[in-house]
């Protein structure tokens, strides 16, 4: 039941939250994706290199610890430079420091070039549905 799509996942920056990352890997695999998990504490470069090496269709960035805003800046531009023009970029977790209005936070990340951003505690199955839609496989 492989669906032929490859997704790079990982947790960006100095962030060590590993549990959600393992759950996301588990869920994506159950949904037939080829998953490349670069794990926690990953700089932007690692995501990009992994995506290039595996010819990935999408990158799912997690940030739980609050520094997401700093860590994710320029990610889209770096992807473009590296030749990953148009690659699907999702971001999710506890993206910013503190309990902030989600609509505003979402806008900040969409403005950074992410295709979709997800609020704290998102059920990963909902995002997987979106991903399948965006990849045209459902």
């Amino acid at each position: 039941m492989q669906n032929g799509k490859t997704v790079v996942i990982g947790v960006i920056g100095a962030d060590c939250h590993a549990v959600g990352n393992k759950i996301i890997e588990h869920a994506l695999k159950e949904n037939g994706f080829n998953v490349v998990n670069i794990g926690v504490l990953s700089p932007q470069e690692d995501f990009i290199n992994a995506a290039i090496e595996t010819n990935a269709d999408a990158i799912l960035v997690s940030s739980l610890y609050g520094h997401g805003e700093i860590d994710c800046r320029g990610f889209r531009e770096k992807c473009d430079e590296a030749g990953l023009k148009g690659i699907i970029l999702y971001v999710g977790g506890n993206l910013v420091v503190g309990k902030q209005d989600w609509k505003e936070v979402e806008k900040r990340f969409l403005d950074m070039g992410f295709n979709r951003a997800y609020p704290p505690g998102t059920d990963i199955n909902i995002s997987i549905k979106d991903l399948k839609k965006d990849l045209g496989i459902e």
Partner: protein
């Protein structure tokens, strides 16, 4: 690197120290003598070891929040608020994640960005960047004992700075601040770096200054079976004691089943003290109970339920202090108001329960015995692997998967064990990996999980662990299958 569980010599320590103090400009000119002088003037009510002693002797459970923001003034306001409005008994300074990774340049960015944005862009207080001057300002601005709480594999410079600033306690340890917090820090390296931090405290002890040390008990905070976290706590306690630490707080993160949680604290104290006696260490031991460390419910009222139940368990277990969560836990770093709210709910519960303990019962006794027996299996093997040297044994035990922390990010962690709750919500071993348990213990763990499986009409499987990870966040303790909700 040659690692040994042996007190660092003065030569070793001071040679290393020169290097440590050069890691960032604020390390320059740190003087142990000057620091000792400063520490000697710390008044009793701001002295961590003293307040813990008082609490232990009077059977009181103290409440301590987590808190830290990027800007100095803001940080001080926050702590004073938690002290005055929140009624905290002990204060923390939670350190940001860049500092934890020794990325002080990025801290500078975070500080600048925070000034610009008018809100903290860092998830904690960058103590190293503020250095002695800033950290002493913090200390002087508050009226309670102050502790650094972080998650830093190499905390040597940080420890030098905070102790020299009058902070009389430091959280962390060579295992507990590595395996759950890092991906590629070798086990031996981190143990060695924490020997330094412990030796620093030992040095102060030798100068007549008592400081408190607290290994981080909950590890990944995610379904860690008590025997595994107790084994780690005892190892870190012994490693610290060897370096001369005398005032030690061992910790445990709530699992949620009352009998198991109380048993875990009781087993921890009894067993740790056995080991200290055995090795001839003279340690004043207290305990810290962490309110539920896994995923929280988003609803704030529900979060209060989780917070209060953790407080009640801490009291019934007779823990010396409890680390407090907040109603914002599931979402983000709490506002000062939300943080104070968590403390107040906690204190109310602790005060209602003051003096009350879970009464002795055969279930409690059996659970204590089980945890101790499991812990002993692990520790015996660790000592065996190290040929009697605990530090060496620990490194080898991680290699062999004898020590194995569930859901940890470290590549030096085997990641083979899988925990799951039994039908009463107690955390058991579902997969044992290479944990050297007796057949009897394994069978007993299995039997308890089979009972749950039967009740739920599904096989014992990884899916149970997955369901359990989400359970508390969804409002229940045991992650039952969809059709049972």
């Amino acid at each position: 690197m040659e690692l040994k569980n042996k007190k660092l010599t003065n030569d070793e320590f001071f040679k290393e120290r020169e290097e440590v103090l050069r890691q960032w400009p604020t390390g320059a000119n740190l003087s142990l003598e000057d620091a000792a002088e400063y520490l000697k003037k710390v008044p009793e009510h701001k002295n961590f070891p003293k307040k813990l002693r008082y609490a232990k002797e009077n059977g009181i459970t103290l409440a301590q929040p987590r808190a830290g923001v990027a800007l100095l003034e803001e940080h001080i306001n926050l702590l004073r608020y938690l002290q005055n409005e929140g009624e905290a008994d002990l204060l923390p300074s939670t350190i940001d994640s860049y500092t934890r990774q020794n990325r002080y340049n990025e801290c500078e960015v975070g500080i600048e960005e925070s000034k610009k944005a008018g809100r903290s862009m860092l998830n904690g207080f960058p103590a190293v960047n503020y250095g002695l001057e800033g950290c002493r300002k913090v200390f002087e601005a508050v009226d309670l004992p102050l502790q650094a709480r972080h998650g830093t594999p190499d905390a040597r410079l940080l420890s030098e700075i905070i102790h020299a600033s009058g902070w009389t306690s430091n959280e962390g340890g060579g295992i507990s601040y590595n395996i759950p917090y890092a991906k590629s820090v070798p086990v031996d390296k981190c143990i060695r770096d924490w020997q330094y931090c412990d030796r620093l405290v030992g040095m102060y002890e030798e100068m007549g200054i008592e400081l408190n040390r607290e290994p981080f008990g909950p590890l990944t905070g995610t379904l860690v079976p008590p025997s595994m976290s107790n084994a780690v706590a005892i190892i870190e306690g012994l490693l610290a004691a060897e370096q001369g630490v005398k005032n030690l707080t061992l910790g445990y993160g709530q699992c949620g089943n009352l009998v198991q949680d109380v048993a875990a604290i009781r087993a921890l104290v009894e067993q740790a003290e056995e080991y200290f006696r055995k090795f001839g260490y003279d340690v004043y031991l207290t305990t810290v109970f962490h309110q539920w460390m896994g995923g929280f419910p988003h609803d704030e009222s529900k979060a209060f339920g989780v917070i209060s139940w953790g407080s009640a368990t801490a009291a019934l277990a007779g823990a010396t202090k409890v680390i407090v969560k907040t109603p914002h836990e599931a979402v983000g770093i709490p506002t000062k108001e939300a943080n104070a709210a968590g403390i107040k709910a906690t204190k109310q519960t602790l005060n209602l329960l003051r003096g009350q303990r879970l009464t002795e019962s055969k279930e409690l006794k059996a659970e204590i015995e089980l945890i101790k027996a499991e812990t002993k299996c692990i520790l015996d093997k660790v000592f065996e692997l190290g040929n009697g040297d605990l530090a060496v044994g620990t490194v080898k035990a991680f290699e062999a998967g004898v020590l194995d922390i569930p859901f940890a990010p470290s590549k030096y962690n085997a990641g083979l064990i899988i925990p799951a709750r039994d039908n009463n919500g107690a955390v058991r071993y579902l997969e044992f990996g290479n944990i050297p348990f007796t057949k009897e213990i394994k069978d007993f763990n299995r039997q308890l999980l089979e009972e749950r499986a039967k009740y739920e009409g599904r096989p014992v499987s990884f899916q149970m662990a997955v369901d359990d990870i989400f359970a508390v966040g969804k409002g229940v303790l045991v992650g039952r299958p969809e059709n049972m909700k």
